[in-house]
């Protein structure tokens, strides 16, 4: 039997069974009466009477059994179907089904109560959804307000120190200048931290915007490289910049790509104690492939898959961590590169060094 037919039986079976049952009993009673009559009139007297009698008994029995087999079949199907729908029905409904003759009534009652329940659930879900939306908005507002409230005092601290360090309020000696500059480096760090938090909030909302233009990646790398060269040299490291002599144009947001490079070179600088940091760019089909390689502490292969996850800095947030950072830089970098339809990945050998490579689509050729 095809499943479709079964479905029909779920509803029809019980009624049919009860009709058939009544019919079978009626059939038996109706057949027994003329048989008893025949017995008294003929059977005792003639041989033909006996034959007719036996044939009639056989006929009645055959009729009874055929109805019975039909009945059993139907009952079995009904049972099977009952078993199939049982898990979906409430205990009260099952009880009702057992008591009530007409299961159609019970089922329609059940359906309407289930529908009501569903409507209630949909309403509850809608309400929950609205609540979550409001909560999300609150979180956004909170992030924005907090960042605003952090920025104001930071502006005052940074600008005050900068003005003093510039000598606007009198001469500054070398030792003072050293500490003012140290303070300024750290206000910059705070600012970067707030910006990162905002970037992450934007990424989560899918609102990080990029403005793609044709830009020269060689130029960007050179700028970032020269910004870092002092810091790298101060640490006793070597910096190698391996570039094509000609400009290489990519379709990208200059500020955002600069942010990625600063992050990668900054990381390389942080986690490298000796050796060199190498930045390079080369063509690879429709893409320009840039990489930042270091000879630093490297990353254990078991940690590599988590590298681009939020708040992940190897070693955990507290224990044994010597280098500072939010652990958001790589998440942001990955999102920025992916918004450019590029890819970023890392290769690393623990104790030997790490190499980050990202790709950016080449700028479309000039049409004129």
């Amino acid at each position: 039997m095809r499943p479709k037919d079964k479905k029909v039986f779920i509803i029809a079976s019980f009624e049919e069974v009860s009709i058939l049952r009544k019919f079978a009993i009626l059939f038996l009673i109706a057949s027994i009466l003329p048989m008893v009559l025949l017995y008294y009139v003929y059977v005792k007297k003639t041989q033909l009477g006996i034959i007719v009698m036996v044939l009639m008994v056989l006929g009645v029995l055959a009729g009874y059994f055929s109805i019975r087999s039909l009945l059993i079949k139907t009952i079995n199907i009904a049972k099977e179907n009952r078993k199939a729908i049982e898990p979906f029905l409430a205990p009260e409904t099952l009880k009702e089904l057992d008591q009530e003759e007409n299961e159609l009534v019970v089922l329609s009652r059940t359906f309407s109560s289930v529908t009501k329940q569903l409507e209630n659930n949909v309403y509850e879900l809608k309400k929950k959804n609205e609540e979550l939306k409001a909560l999300d908005q609150l979180k956004d507002d909170f992030v924005n307000t907090v960042s605003h409230e952090f920025r104001l005092p930071l502006t005052i601290i940074q600008e005050s120190i900068r003005q003093i360090a510039e000598g606007m309020y009198g001469e500054v000696n070398e030792a003072q200048l050293k500490y003012f500059n140290m303070s300024l480096r750290n206000t910059d760090r705070l600012k970067a931290l707030i910006d990162n938090m905002l970037d992450i909030a934007k990424i989560e909302k899918g609102k990080l915007e990029i403005l793609k233009k044709n830009v020269d990646i060689v130029g960007i790398i050179k700028e970032v490289g020269s910004d870092f060269s002092q810091r790298i040299k101060r640490k006793g490291l070597e910096i190698k910049i391996d570039l094509h002599p000609q400009p290489m144009e990519v379709l990208a947001d200059k500020d955002k790509i600069t942010q990625v490079l600063i992050n990668l070179v900054g990381n390389a600088c942080k986690f490298t104690e000796k050796g060199c940091i190498e930045i390079s760019a080369r063509e690879n089909g429709k893409f320009i492939e840039c990489s930042v390689a270091d000879s630093g502490i490297g990353i254990a292969s078991k940690n590599l898959p988590y590298l681009f996850s939020k708040f992940h800095q190897i070693g955990g947030p507290l224990k044994g961590r010597q280098e500072k950072g939010t652990g958001l830089g790589l998440v942001i970098s990955k999102n920025i590169i992916e918004l450019h339809d590029g890819q970023i990945h890392a290769e690393s050998v623990e104790g030997k060094g790490t190499k980050f490579t990202f790709t950016l689509p080449k700028a479309p050729a000039e049409t004129n």
Binding site: H148, R151, L152, E159, L211
Partner: protein
């Protein structure tokens, strides 16, 4: 000497920007709320206005709309100066803010003095 009006509710920030601009040979006046800022702009006709956004009495955007409604102040160049970065439209040169469909240059706080000074110079045509 060009006259610049700073409208910012934060006294400390105002003070620092005033010093920075005076050092760069500008005549600087200031106000710590939007309402008063508009009055000063009407009275003293500055060559440029630096406008904060989040201010308690009057929002910087509102103040700018009002300034644009007066004949004597409607052509004064304006730079927004804000720590509220969510409304900023980043661009390669200078961030911008949209007020009633018109774009104004914006400097975000904490600010780079050079960025602020070059924005002022370009708006004053110096």
């Amino acid at each position: 000497m060009k006259k610049i009006l700073i409208v910012d509710d934060d006294v400390d920030i105002t003070n620092l920007v005033v010093n920075r601009l005076k050092k760069n040979n500008y005549n600087v006046i200031f106000s710590n709320d939007g309402d008063n800022g508009i009055k000063k702009a009407l009275e003293q006709k500055p060559d440029l206005i630096i406008m904060d956004i989040m201010m308690p009495k009057m929002h910087g955007g509102e103040a700018v709309k009002l300034l644009r409604s007066y004949e004597s102040t409607k052509n004064i160049p304006i730079i927004f100066f804000t720590a509220l970065t969510t409304n900023l439209q980043n661009s390669a040169e200078l961030d911008k803010i949209n007020v009633d469909g018109q774009f104004y240059p914006a400097i975000s706080k904490p600010f780079e003095p050079n960025k602020l000074l070059s924005a002022i110079k370009s708006l004053l045509g110096e």
